[in-house]
């Protein structure tokens, strides 16, 4: 991205579009139970938002500006840093953490069912009544699982994009 500096138009569009994409992604995730959407789609859409930032602002931007970390030295998690100036783009540790959290959430939501005496990954639906304005709200335990899926997809795709994109 260094030799072809993106235009102001591109930067401005990304600046406006990315928040919208992210909000849409979360909306897709939450409405998935009753309308098209869900964890996978929401996750992919979130990854698209980040990929846009990568394309327009470069690989370092996410690390320095959003995650507030110094981009250098770039090392893999657990890798000893030998050469401080090595311009080897790294894997952001947060991405792998998101991945792990997602997997834990998905598996954990299944284990909760076991703890309550149901088969692994049994899902339940609860109706909370008497809420003003809505009267009744449906709470599905599947949402926790969906959230796990979402995080895995986001973490996985971002890891892949960061690693492959850095090549």
């Amino acid at each position: 991205m260094t030799e072809n500096e993106p235009t102001v138009i591109a930067r401005t569009v990304v600046r406006i579009v990315v928040p919208i994409i992210l909000v849409t992604a979360v909306a897709l995730l939450l409405q998935g139970h009753n309308a098209p959407g869900g964890g996978f789609i929401g996750g992919v859409l979130t990854a698209v938002a980040f990929a846009l930032i990568y394309v327009i602002y470069g690989l370092d931007y996410v690390e320095t500006e959003i995650l507030d970390r110094t981009a250098l030295p770039r090392a893999l998690p657990g890798e000893p840093v030998e050469d401080e100036s090595a311009q080897r783009p790294g894997v952001t540790k947060e991405f792998s953490e998101v991945l792990a959290i997602g997997l834990a959430l998905a598996a954990g939501s299944g284990i909760v069912a076991i703890a309550l005496g149901y088969p692994f990954l049994s899902q339940a639906v609860a109706f909370v009544e008497g809420i003003p304005l809505f009267h009744e709200i449906e709470v599905a335990s599947a949402l926790a699982f969906d959230l796990g899926v979402y995080f895995v997809v986001v973490g996985g795709l971002l890891t892949v994009i960061a690693v492959v994109g850095a090549e």
């Binding site: 846009l52 894997v91 990954l121 599947a142 899926v149 996985g156």
Partner: protein, 808 residues
């Protein structure tokens, strides 16, 4: 009494658990991990002893899959034979692990060593107690794998790697033959259960043999299983891995190659003896056993290294055991069972002791060459005492322990020859002939401690107690067995010992539960019977020949160096021949993704097409293709875009036209009332497009000129893949089951009309696709996201850690 299920689980499971925990333990205890591991072995030993003393016999089983005709169970069986091998594996395990504490003091890789040794012990215990052919096979191969790691302990040395590879190739290949044999047995018997239930193979031994014979499969099954046993127990000509295996640290040699792993083969022969006993069985195993016994004994005489001598001697004694188990006819069957059962015990005691002595010599004198050693008794008095008991036992000199079991072999061969006559008379002659060499090398080993001490031999240190005690313990066991013979002559029997061997004999006797085992006892002969004369001849010939030991040794070495006579030469030639396959690697292992993709896709397609062809699936009739016009238009655009991709002059044009294709598919989904799919397709398409943007300016702007044949090849490959996918879609959508599964989802997916506060049986969502994904088939989804996680991890490993791997 039925054995306790959980005790069984601890016996077999604890070593594996301990092996898994070894890295942690090692961090805490360091060198003393040896004693912690020995304690684990002691627990297993104690529990095996508990089984033995409380009379717990019978089947222990954990059922996993219980579908009719497809029973899968982890089942173990406790009887005399399995207890014997269990005792050997765990008991000698205790001693060896203790000994390792002293021996491995300055060796590298101790953590791996103890973990593998424990895992090996667990596998061996599994082999001993397995009551199911599959379970037996799995543990059997686990012993091969763990011994591979142990033999190759010194990973830096090429001889060590060669030895490890050799033992792996031979024992694992043998195990695969054995697996085929097992499958034949199971195919005929209809079950993998070996013994313990009413349907088990043992319960139907008679009809099993007849059935196999009727199909002409009896001899193949016998030979296949025999190859497995021979490979594991180092029978000629598969014995060649055993001497090389001496590259391993001495505790390993003592454990694996005297007491346990090589015993797996003889164990199998003993175990299956009641099942498969027949004329063919006798011919196969008596011949194999006696040939091995003789050839390996001769080779042992030619050995120049003490561990090599012991290795050949091990092969020789295993031959003796197998020959014993082989004898099933002519009224000698009981003697055969007694030979095999008793000699397993005797051999383990004296051979493990001798290996430990060899380790002490190598460690303290700094040499393992027979010619460099002598007069060691002054420096190593305790080892000398151990060796006297153990080596004379090995030589078969009365009243030491090996004498009695060899007497049984002589008796068995003599009785067999006497009953059958003719060529069978070769057997006792060969038995005596082989035993002479056994006597010779045993005495040679003993003489390491006596005579003059060579000047070149420097100061010999005193070994630590952790190394001396195990050897002494084994010698005491061997000595007690020997003493039992003397006292039995005087009318005082060692009750528990005889009772125990009786049970082992009972387990290997052909007439299950018959009276064969009931009479076992051994004593010093008091009158000149034929076996006594044979023993006397052996010792006499040996004593006469011993002064000419060096000449004999030179003759053996000269014979051994003739390549056509050496099994090693054949092994090396075959392995080298196979090694030429490297020539192919430049065309297959190109390191280019497209080569792999081509091979993979073509293989999958061809196999799928072949499967369709063999199954003769019919294609659905193209009667009612009624597509609305919008769909036709969308698909038409997609096809045009697909052609445009192939004609695209640059990468950018290619990517954009490819996206057109993708978006058309998404619209097609929308038209087909699949909003979720359409959304996913749209997003993925967008993501791919964005990703392409990320890498686009790194790629060369134009495609290179491809060669004509490459283009042709790729065209053919893509056509094949396309046709396969097309056919697959047609075939898979053709079937329409009577009760459609979608109805179930449709009924249960949404919120029911009458709903309480908590609903478990219903998905409670209006989006059926999502409800299926996260509720009805959430396990699938969990698997899929695990795949995503794994893919991400592999990308990190493949791409980001590429350089890191090279650095290490």
């Amino acid at each position: 009494m039925q054995p306790n299920q959980w005790v069984m689980a601890v016996i077999v499971g604890l070593p594996f658990l301990a092996a898994a925990l070894t890295p942690l333990v090692y961090r805490l205890l360091g060198e003393r991990t040896a004693y912690a591991s020995a304690a684990v072995a002691a627990v297993s030993f104690g529990l095996v002893g508990w089984f033995a003393t409380t009379g717990a016999r019978g089947l222990v089983s954990w059922t996993w899959i219980d579908a009719p005709g497809f029973e899968v169970a982890l089942s173990f069986y406790v009887d005399g034979l399995s207890l014997l091998i269990g005792f050997l594996a765990s008991g000698i395990g205790v001693l060896i692990l203790t000994y390792s504490g002293g021996y491995m003091h300055e060796e590298p890789g101790k953590m791996k060593f103890y973990a593998t040794l424990l895992a090996f012990m667990g596998s061996m215990l599994g082999v001993a107690f397995a009551a199911d052919l599959v379970v037996l096979f799995v543990f059997w191969e686990l012993t091969s794998i763990s011994s591979f790691i142990l033999i190759g302990h010194y990973t830096g040395e090429s001889s060590s790697r060669y030895a490890a590879r050799k033992s792996m190739l031979i024992t694992v290949a043998g195990g695969l033959f054995m697996l085929l044999g097992f499958l034949l047995l199971a195919g005929e018997g209809g079950t993998f259960q070996l013994l313990g239930t009413e349907q088990a193979l043992f319960a139907q031994a008679e009809s099993l043999r007849e059935g196999l014979r009727a199909d002409g499969l009896f001899v193949p099954a016998l030979v296949l299983i025999g190859i497995g046993a021979a490979a594991k127990s180092a029978q000629v000509p598969l014995h060649i891995w055993l001497p090389n295996a001496m590259e391993a640290p001495t505790p390993v040699s003592a454990f694996l190659h005297s007491a346990t792993m090589v015993k797996a083969g003889v164990y199998l022969v003993g175990r299956l003896r009641p099942l498969l006993a027949s004329e063919e069985w006798q011919l196969l195993f008596v011949a194999m056993g006696l040939v091995t016994m003789t050839v390996a004994a001769i080779l042992a005489v030619g050995a120049s290294d003490i561990k090599e001598l012991l290795a050949y001697s091990t092969a020789s004694h295993l031959g003796l055991i197998i020959a014993g188990f082989g004898v099933v006819g002519g009224g000698a069957s009981a003697y055969g069972a007694e030979t095999g059962s008793f000699h397993i015990l005797n051999h383990a005691a004296f051979k493990a002791a001798l290996f430990l002595v060899a380790g002490i010599i190598a460690h303290e004198a700094g040499s393992r060459l027979i010619d460099d050693l002598g007069g060691l008794w002054r420096d190593l008095p305790i080892a000398a005492g151990v060796t006297v008991v153990a080596a004379l036992g090995m030589a078969g000199v009365p009243p030491f322990n090996g004498f009695y079991s060899k007497e049984f072999l002589f008796e068995a061969t003599y009785e067999l020859a006497h009953a059958s006559g003719g060529l069978w008379w070769i057997l006792p002659a060969v038995a005596v002939f082989g035993s002479v060499f056994t006597f010779l090398y045993s005495i040679r080993f003993l003489m390491l401690f006596f005579g003059e001490k060579p000047d070149a031999l420097g100061h010999v240190h005193t070994p630590p107690w952790s190394m001396r005690l195990p050897a002494v313990a084994l010698a005491v066991v061997a000595g007690i067995i020997g003493l039992g013979g003397i006292t039995a002559t005087a009318g005082v029997h060692i009750g528990p010992l005889e009772e125990f061997v009786r049970q082992v004999v009972g387990a290997t006797a052909i007439d299950q539960g018959g009276e064969h085992g009931a009479h076992f006892s051994y004593y010093l002969p008091t009158e000149p019977t034929v076996p006594v004369l044979m023993s006397a001849t052996t010792i006499g010939l040996g004593a006469v020949a011993y002064p000419f030991y060096d000449q004999l040794r030179d003759v053996v070495r000269r014979l051994r160096s003739v390549s056509l006579l050496s099994a090693n030469w054949y092994y090396d030639s075959v392995v080298e021949g196979l090694d030429r396959s490297r020539a192919v690697e430049s065309t297959i292992q190109t390191g280019q993704l497209r080569t792999y993709a081509l091979v993979l896709l073509l293989a999958v397609s061809v196999m799928t097409l072949l499967a369709y062809a063999t199954a003769a699936v019919g294609l659905p009739a193209f009667g009612s293709v009624a597509s609305p016009i919008p769909m036709v238009i969308v698909l038409g655009v997609a096809v045009v875009a697909a052609f445009a991709v192939t004609r695209a002059p640059s990468h950018i044009a290619g990517v954009l036209t490819l996206s057109i294709l993708g978006f058309m598919v998404a619209i097609f989904y929308i038209l087909g009332d699949a909003p979720d799919l359409a959304l996913t397709q749209l997003l993925i398409e967008t993501l791919v497009l964005v990703l392409f943007l990320l890498v686009l300016d790194k790629l060369p702007p134009f495609y290179g000129e491809a060669r004509r044949w490459v283009l042709a090849r790729d065209a053919v490959a893509s056509a094949v893949v396309g046709v396969t996918v097309f056919l697959t879609v047609l075939v898979t959508t053709a079937a329409s089951p009577a009760s459609r599964i979608s109805n179930f989802f449709l009924e249960r997916g949404g919120v029911p009309a009458e709903h309480g506060t908590w609903i478990l049986d219903y998905g409670g969502g209006a989006n059926i696709v999502n409800v299926i994904l996260v509720d009805f088939r959430a396990f699938d989804t969990l698997g899929e996201i695990s795949v995503i996680a794994m893919a991400a991890l592999s990308v990190i490993t493949l791409v980001a850690m590429r350089e890191r791997g090279e650095k290490q």
